[in-house]
Amino acid sequence: MKTITQLKKNVLIITLQCDYLDASITSDLKTELIQSIEESGVIQVVCNLEHIEFVDSSGLGLMIALLRHLASKNGDLKLACMSSKVYTIFKMVRMHTLFEIYSSVSDAMHTCA
């Protein structure tokens, strides 16, 4: 169990329980997350990254995959509680421009249509 999901006001909140997103887990995690999104029936998702201390390229790819999956349904993925070190990696590959990133889950929730 690497995630906790909550459905609030038509927004799916996904909290990643692991402290790293690397190539050893991203394949299974992608399947798990897309399944959770499909089962929820919603297209607005907030991903809570508060526990994540390390992200590698496959973790970045996972976020892109989720974003594209939701965008194909006219939905959106917003990221919350990203640590400064993870944000630095996003910035390095210029992915910080692709995502809406919020300091808290509630802030991200407020922007969801």
């Binding site: 790293y20 690397d22 190539a23 050893s24 390390f54 590698d56 390229s57 496959s58 970045l60 790819g61 996972l62 892109i64 995959a65 974003l67 594209r68 070190k85 630095t88 990696i89 390095m92 590959v93 210029r94 992915m95 421009t97 692709l98």
Partner: protein
Amino acid sequence: MQPGRFCNYIHKERKPSCFSTMYSSSLRNLSEVRCFLSRHLTEANCEWAFIEQVQLMVNEAFSNIVRHSYRGYENQPVGLEIQISDRGVTCILSHTGIEFVPGKKVFAVQEKPSEGGYGLFLIHELADMVNYECNEDGWNTVTMFKSFTAGGTL
């Protein structure tokens, strides 16, 4: 080839600290690779921000070896050696798989973002020098040097 073979001629100007270990070619070993690096670099009084950059750099190279050089086959050898000098840290990954040349610098996110392709970009962003060598004994080595004072964009 043993991962420790380079210890005697790199950074001759000072006695280097050198540590080496061997892993099997499984992505499940990524955590242990990062722990190995943090343990020895912490003991060498490296700053934590520097250690994180080295961890990411080596993590990406190790992943590429497992996924591309060994095509996902497990139980193949991957050597890791780190050499710590007063100039910086040299990380050498060695393997017997298919040649993997990390010489092409790809770009980060474009207008249409891809799910993959960031690994090589990160390696080149984080390392001050990347070198690939195919040895006669069948071992390939990826050598990455990171200076304490230059390079790296984290």
